[in-house]
Structures are given as C-alpha cells and as structure tokens.
C-alpha cells in the first residue's frame, strides 16, 4: 500500500479530481474569468440542440470509422510482412515506426505538402498525368480522407509493434504442425495466426478507437475544421467553445459527452469481443 501511495496521490490529483471537477463544471454557466452559476442540465440541453455539436459528433465518428479499420488491417499486414529476423525487416520496422515520434505539427506540415491541390505532391502528379487534382483540403468528404490518411500514416507504428509482439508470442512449432496438417497459407492465417492475435486485435481496436475519437491536432492544423465545419471534430468543438468563446461550462459538458461515448464504446467492444474466449490463454 505504501509503495503505490505516490502514484495513487498523483492519480487522484491529476485525474480523478479534474474528472469530478469537470462534472461539476458542466452543470454551471462559467467563463474563463470565473464566476460560476449553477444551471443544472442546461448546458447539455443546449448541446443536443446545437447543430454544430451534432455535426462534430458525426464527423468524429466518420473519422474513427475511416481510420480504425484501415489502420488495424494495415498494421497487421505490415507486422506479418516484417515479422522475420532479417536486416531488411529490421530497417523497415524502424522506418514505419519512425513517423510515430514526429509531432503533429510536423506530420500535418508534411501532409500539407503532399495533399495541397495546387502545389502538393499529389496535385502536381495529377496535373502531370493530365488529370484534375483532388481537392483534398477543400472538399467536405475528401478533407475527411485527408485527415484519415494523415492520421493513419502518423499512428501506424504502435499498432504494428503491438502486432509484432503478438506474432512473436506464437510458437514456431504450431506453424510446423499446421504445415504437416496440410494447411494452406490462407488457412494458417485464419485458423492459427489470427485467433492467436485475437487479444492484440481487440487491444489495438480499443486503443485506436479511444485515440481517434479524441482526434484534434490534425483537424486544427490541416483543415481548421473546414470546409464549412466538415472536419470539426468533437475535441476541436470543445477547444473552440472553451478557448475561442470562453464558455467553459458548455465546453466541459461537451467533454463529458465525449468521455461517456468513449467509455461506452470501449466497454462494449471489450465485452462483445472477449465473450467466450476464456481458456484460450494456454498453449
């Protein structure tokens, strides 16, 4: 007990206290200069009548749905391809992981160079081929894809490493048994590899869902929430409410809604995917 006390203290002060304080704050009308006034569930009622907020929820879900499946499949594919003890594989593992260490500012800067229709890499290429450049940053749907692509590129490293770690846990003789059992590569993947990675897949999907629902930096820096609010994510909405309009109570209420969504989603994912998987741990 004594040894966890320092951690527990920090945990209470910087996580639990703000969480409870936030809940209280969301029930008040309060701005950055202070002076709270209790208004009950007023902020929440306003939120669900606010079309901008509803659109930000939809945009956030759309982004998460674009990013999480592609990111998971891509990371798994890379891990499968790079799960070997060659020098080349080691180099590529490093390369694919390296994007994760960049700050979001650098990442969006790089992708602006790629995606900008007039001077970007893709735009120039399209023009050289005589095609119309895709308006990645100014079209409502394409700008969502611009955010998704940027995010996938930025976040691929960690899930890839998690999958690699999961693959290393599978003992080689199971694959030899599968070879003697006439399993094709495809059968081996579906019946041996994927079931063994089940927990890792759940972990990656849960972590990424929780992370992508909080997507912010890319949206603010790459598209600024535009065009026409098409890429205004929930955190961007919260940020604008708190630090542009100074409506602290309102922003906190939005943050509580996001918090609830994330908790419910990850809990549902965990419960549905982990059901009936007891006894899989042994080998």
């Amino acid at each position: 007990m004594l040894f966890v006390l320092p951690f527990l203290t920090a945990y209470l002060i910087i996580l639990i206290y703000p969480l409870l304080n936030g809940m209280a704050l969301s029930l008040q009308r309060v701005d950055l200069f202070g002076g709270g006034q209790f208004v009950g569930l007023d902020n929440y009622a306003r939120l669900f009548a606010d079309e901008t907020f509803i659109r930000s929820i939809l945009a956030t879900f759309a982004l998460a749905l674009m990013i999480v499946p592609i990111l998971t499949v891509l990371a798994l594919g890379l891990a499968l391809a790079l799960n070997r003890a060659t020098r080349g594989a080691a180099i590529f593992r490093g390369v694919f992981f390296s994007s994760s260490v960049l700050s979001v500012t650098i990442v969006t800067l790089i992708w602006r160079f790629v995606l900008a229709p007039d001077a970007g890499l893709l735009g120039e290429t399209a023009q050289a081929l005589g095609a119309e450049p895709i308006p990645f940053l100014s079209h409502p749907t394409w700008s969502l894809w611009a955010l998704a692509i940027t995010t996938i590129w930025w976040s691929i490293g960690l899930p890839m490493m998690l999958f690699l770690a999961g693959l290393q846990q599978i003992s080689g003789d199971v694959y030899e048994a599968a070879a003697l059992d006439r399993a094709s590569r495809w059968t081996t993947f579906w019946r041996v590899t994927l079931p063994a990675l089940r927990r890792t897949v759940v972990l990656v999907v849960m972590l990424q869902t929780a992370a992508q629902l909080q997507i912010f930096g890319q949206a603010q820096l790459l598209t600024g929430g535009g065009p026409g609010g098409a890429t205004r994510t929930m955190v961007l909405f919260i940020f604008e409410a708190a630090f542009a309009r100074w409506e602290l109570g309102y922003a906190t209420a939005a943050a509580e809604v996001l918090f609830l969504i994330i908790v419910l989603l990850t809990l549902t994912q965990y419960l549905t995917t982990m059901r009936g998987s007891e006894g899989d741990g042994g080998r």
């Binding site: 199971v174 030899e176 048994a177 599968a178 019946r191 041996v192 079931p195 063994a196 006894g279 741990g281």
Partner: protein
C-alpha cells in the same frame, strides 16, 4: 520391403555441418529410435523426414516413393512434437480434425476417426476442452491423437516423453508400446533417453557427431557396441574404458590384456582381427564385482557408493588412478575410502582398438 529409405543425406547450416552423408534403411513397420546427445543431428534428421527442414544432398523415400521433394503435409507422415504444438484456440476435437479437414476428408469419416482415436486414447471426455484447460499428459495424448487420425505410414515422435513427469513418462512409454501394436505404421522416435530407446525400439540408431554410429536391436547395441562412443553412451552408468596393453600371443585364441595397475584380464575376444597397438578394456559395472575372499583379480579404493536398492554401484579407483565402476549387492557394507578387491569378469569384457572400434567376446561354445 524397406518402408523408409534415407540415402546419403547431408545438411549444413551455413558453414556448420549437422548431418554428414547419412544413410539408413527401415524395414517394414518397425520402431526405430534415434538416440544421441544434443547436437548429434538426430532431430534434424527427423525434421528432414517430416519436411520441416530441407536437405542439401540425398534422398528420402517412403514405401518406394521419393518424398523429400514433397510438402510436409503430402508425405504420408505424422509428427508428435516435443512441446505438443497443439492449436491453443481450438478444442481437442478441432485440433484432431484440422489436418483431415484440410485434406478434404468427408465429414462423417473425420468424425468417426476422431471418435476412434479419442476412444483409444481415453480422451473422449476432453473432446470439447481446449488445450489450455488440460494437463501435460492429456495434451500429449491429444498430440498423439492428432497424428493417429491421419492414418500415416510413418509416425515421427520428437522426444515425446521428455515433457512428462517421471510417473507419467513410464505410463506413456507403455502406452506408446501398446499403440505401436495396434497401428499399422512405422515409427521413428527421437530421444536422448536410452531407457526409452531400449524399451520401445526394435532397432536403435545411435547418432553422434553428425553421423550414425551404430544401428541395431537394443540388446545388440548394449552387448556389442560398435565403438567407444556407443559403449559409453548406452548403458547407465557408463561402461568403464581402461587403457590396457595387449599381451604377447600365448597360443590361445583369445586376447589377454594387462591393465595400468599390472593386473591381467583374460578376455574372450578373439585375437584375430585385433590390430596391434594400445587398446582399451571395456567393462560394464555388472561385469566387475566386489570380491569376497581370495578371488580378487585387482584392488581398488572406494570413492563413491550409490545404493539403488537391489544393488549398489561402487565408483572406485585402481592403484594407477584409473576410475572403475563395479557392482555390489543391495545391502553392501562397504565404506567410502575402503580398499576392496575386485573380480573382473573377463569373459564379458570388450576391447576397443586404437581407432575406437569395438571387439567383443565370442559367444561361449
């Protein structure tokens, strides 16, 4: 007809040669044991037969058909892995059925084969469990079951008993012997445990240093070891090998030697075919007894006693410092440090020439 034929097999990992021109022929449905220390190449040879390793040179034929060019699953062999290698997320039933499903065996056929194997191995109650919920012994049975249902021509067993505790190992050994009688297939078992090899195999293939040292029935390996390696490796405790001097011909048919401490031993090894030069006298513990009364042929000092119950092993040293292992009765009154007389049974002794090749006593006429 030879069931499995290995011809001139060589294998190297980079610059390290692990199998050097190995040839072996298996007769009918026999049970072979590859016996050898770690790094002798026995597991590599098994894996080459299974198709889990490629070979650099040579051929593998099973029932006349060349199989070293085929995929592992197409060779008609089944393997039981040392660590079982069961699919952890599949039930026992699915584990056993997996190979048959991949081979597109009809569903009813799969069900009947799995049911039959489960009955034989007494794991019917476990069919819907997963390997993680089972004990080591039960997993071992599932691994064997997974091999049986394939009706292979050849079973490959990679140290099948090494992960079991002593009591279970004895029981599984007996069960393997029984299974062998029920199944119409040949068996190859890799082991470093000579007791397993001696009790289960029709013939033992002793391997060391990338090569086959000797192939023969267990008692022949024990009684007529081809060389000093086999002599020392098979038998527990190991055979005593004492440097000796061949005595000049005295008209007798059999060779006599003088040990380092001056004592003489008359063997029943024929003088003919024995090259000159230094020899080693090979003595199994049961051929050296503690002498009571005046029948001792030499004396030794006791260094260590191992009381095994029905007999006592005596580790002693001759006057010239040569270590020798002898046997005494179970209730031995010997003490460490005591000097004792030893009676060497020369008629059962072996001689090894300077090349290390064994020469053995002729059967008493």
């Amino acid at each position: 007809m030879a069931s499995l034929e290995l011809t001139n097999i060589s294998k190297a990992y980079g610059a390290t040669l692990v199998l050097d021109d190995v040839s072996l022929s298996m007769e009918g449905r026999e049970f072979l044991a590859f016996l050898g220390p770690s790094g002798s190449g026995k597991s590599t040879l098994l894996r080459i037969i299974a198709g889990l390793e490629t070979l650099d040179a040579g051929e593998v034929r099973l029932d006349g058909q060349r199989i070293d060019t085929l995929a592992p699953g197409d060779r008609g062999v089944a393997m039981v892995f040392q660590h079982y290698a069961l699919y952890p997320h599949m039930t026992v039933r699915e584990n056993m059925a997996f190979g048959l499903k991949n081979a597109r065996v009809p569903k009813e056929e799969i069900e009947s084969r799995v049911a039959e194997a489960a009955r034989v191995l007494e794991i019917e109650e476990q069919l819907d469990k997963k390997p993680g919920q089972m004990s080591g012994g039960q997993r071992q049975r599932v691994a064997i079951g997974r091999a049986i249902v394939k009706h292979p021509k050849l079973f490959l067993l990679d140290e099948p008993l090494s992960n079991l505790d002593a009591a279970l190992r004895m029981r599984t050994r007996i069960e393997l012997a029984q299974m062998r009688n029920r199944v119409d297939a040949a068996f190859i078992m890799v082991t470093h445990d000579q007791a397993e090899a001696m009790t289960l195999a029709d013939r033992i293939v002793v391997m060391n240093d990338r090569k086959i040292q000797q192939v023969g029935p267990p008692m022949e390996i024990y009684a007529r070891p081809a060389n000093t390696f086999v002599a020392r490796f098979v038998g527990s405790p190991a055979m005593t090998l004492a440097p000796a001097e061949l005595l000049a011909a005295d008209n007798g048919r059999f060779a006599s030697v003088r040990l380092g401490d001056g004592s003489q031993v008359e063997t029943r090894v024929s003088r003919e075919g024995l090259p000159g030069g230094p020899v080693q006298l090979g003595l199994r513990p049961e051929n050296v007894h503690v002498a009571r009364g005046g029948e001792a042929s030499t004396a030794a000092k006791v260094e260590l006693l191992e009381r095994l119950g029905e007999r006592t092993l005596v580790y002693a040293r001759l006057k010239d410092g040569q270590a020798i292992t002898a046997e005494d009765e179970g209730y031995s009154s010997l003490q460490v440090g005591e000097t004792i007389g030893l009676r060497i049974d020369g008629a059962s002794a072996h001689l090894f020439d300077s090349e290390g090749n064994g020469h053995h006593a002729e059967a008493a006429a």
